[in-house]
């Protein structure tokens, strides 16, 4: 009896310790973000004088104003937003269409095409970025948003994920709709897409985050200042203002806020998309 009590006491203590360790670890994990916010609210003089003084005494908000004039921040913001939205919408539609065909329709050489498409999951984009650049520039699309959008629209992951989703929907739905005289186009838009809202949201959020944070492809494809994205802007800003810590941190805070909002709204979709990665193999 005593032994059992001791054991439960011990396991409670162990549980408490585990929880404390995890909480400390989570603070360590979030520390760079906390420091980013704290530094953005301080003057550089204060930062260098008292580097360990992480909680600012007075909030210095000028960094958040100045960052909009120090670089064409609004322009970069708009470009990033525009590209992310266009790519997300088009990629979700194009992937869903082909996923629907794989799941429910007849296609010549279905398996061959599917395997070809899925090689995209194994092959990193980096291994074809050089010849792809050559193809895009020979089409006259270098240094255009169109060129950047076009290379992002195909996604093996998206097709795979949506195909899984459509395969989970009963074939009777399609058959009944065909009997009612629905065209495949109408079945796709009026029946399949509304039923796949969770899958579409998962893919959409995944793509949007990826595009918002994309760096290497814009670096290669977008050369004009008027075309550049937020990530390119931040990088250029870092090179020019190495010592303006506060200003630099205010910039990264602004660039991170949209992702935080998307994350808080769609947390379960993020978890879902990662779990799908687990399914992939």
């Amino acid at each position: 009896m005593l032994d059992v009590i001791n054991k439960s006491k011990r396991s409670k203590l162990f549980y408490g310790l585990l929880l404390i360790v995890l909480v400390i670890f989570s603070i360590v994990t979030l520390f760079p973000f906390l420091w980013m916010i704290s530094s953005s609210l301080r003057t550089d003089v204060d930062l260098f004088k008292n580097p360990m003084n992480w909680i600012p005494h007075t909030l210095y908000l000028d960094n958040y104003k100045e960052v909009w004039t120090a670089i064409p921040f609004a322009k970069y913001f708009f470009n990033t937003f525009k590209l992310s939205v266009i790519i997300t919408v088009l990629q979700v539609i194009i992937c869903s269409m082909s996923a629907y065909a794989f799941a429910k329709l007849k296609i010549p050489f279905k398996n061959v095409i599917f395997i070809l498409f899925m090689t995209n999951l194994m092959m990193p984009w980096h291994s074809i970025m050089v010849p792809q650049f050559s193809v895009v520039s020979s089409l006259g699309l270098y240094n255009t948003h169109t060129g950047y959008i076009l290379i992002q629209l195909f996604s093996g992951f998206g097709i795979f994920m949506m195909r899984q989703f459509f395969m989970g929907l009963p074939n009777e739905l399609n058959e009944a709709a065909r009997v009612d005289g629905y065209s495949e186009w109408k079945i796709f838009w009026k029946i399949m897409m509304p039923l796949s809202a969770p899958g579409l949201s998962t893919l959409g959020i995944f793509t949007f985050t990826f595009m918002w944070n994309d760096y290497l492809a814009p670096l290669i494809y977008l050369n004009d200042d008027a075309l550049k994205t937020l990530q390119l802007g931040l990088k250029a800003f870092q090179t020019e203002h190495t010592t303006d810590y506060g200003l630099l941190m205010a910039g990264t805070v602004f660039a991170t806020i949209p992702m935080v909002i998307v994350f808080l709204i769609g947390e379960r979709f993020f978890i879902q998309s990662v779990a799908t990665t687990g399914m992939k193999n």
């Binding site: 994990t29 580097p51 194994m122 092959m123 050089v130 193809v135 931040l234 687990g278």
Partner: protein, 296 residues
Amino acid sequence: MASKRLHNFKSYVPGTMFILPAFVLFAVFIFIPLIYGFVMSFTDYGGFNMKSNFIGFDNYSKLFHDDYFLISLKNNFIYTLLFVPLTMLLALLAAIALNNVLHLRKYLRMAFYFPQITSMVSIAIVWGLLLNPISGPINQMLKAIGISNPPEWLMSSSWALLAIVLVAVWKSFGYYMIILLAGIQGIPTHLYESAKLDGASKFQQFLYITLPSLSPTLFMVLILTIINSFQVFDLVSVMTNGGPGRSTNVLVFRIYQEAFMNYRMGYAAAMSTVLFLIIMIISLIQFKLEKKWVTY
């Protein structure tokens, strides 16, 4: 007969129309570049409208005597050897711990996953400041606890690569943690119940039930982290630009420099083929070993 054939043909029309946009995009922007890349690697193509000549295997034979390329390859392998076990260990520990915790679970999961959703550029900038040898808080803390000569991190050619690995691990372990957590939660509970009846301790349960049941997921995470480690670019580009010297130059960064700064695209295409082969070999090993290693 003819009408049947026509009907047969017609039944393929909707599917073909649905797949057409994805097919065209795949063909033009992925398949053609893939083939073209191999062709290009046998030329001295420079970029844009420059003329190119067929030079056979010259690019490839040059690669094996190119110190700069070999250093970037070596750095990348070191990066992989550090990044993969550290990330897997941290992700596994976090997943097991979270699985045993009932309180604050949602907060903890979000906190660990959070670095994953922020951009590499932002976090590379933040970490660059955090790791500043003089004014950065990390060295300030190290000095405060009595380390008088803390590492110079990104300024030191012997520490810079390790610093980049640590930031990459910090950024990505939460992602793999979620995959592993899903794997752990997928293990049937009756296995644990019967083990408990047999008097197995928590550690024995972990060793004989959790680990073997999790091996397919662990194996997949291993492959994903290895493949991921050969794509590192953003952190290097923002934090060190490949330096100090060549100490953090990695494969994709080298390809980028050759193709888009030195305009030697044929040569860069040959490097890309090496990257492609590395990934293919890993994928083949995965394919072969999956059945052997993975025990259910």
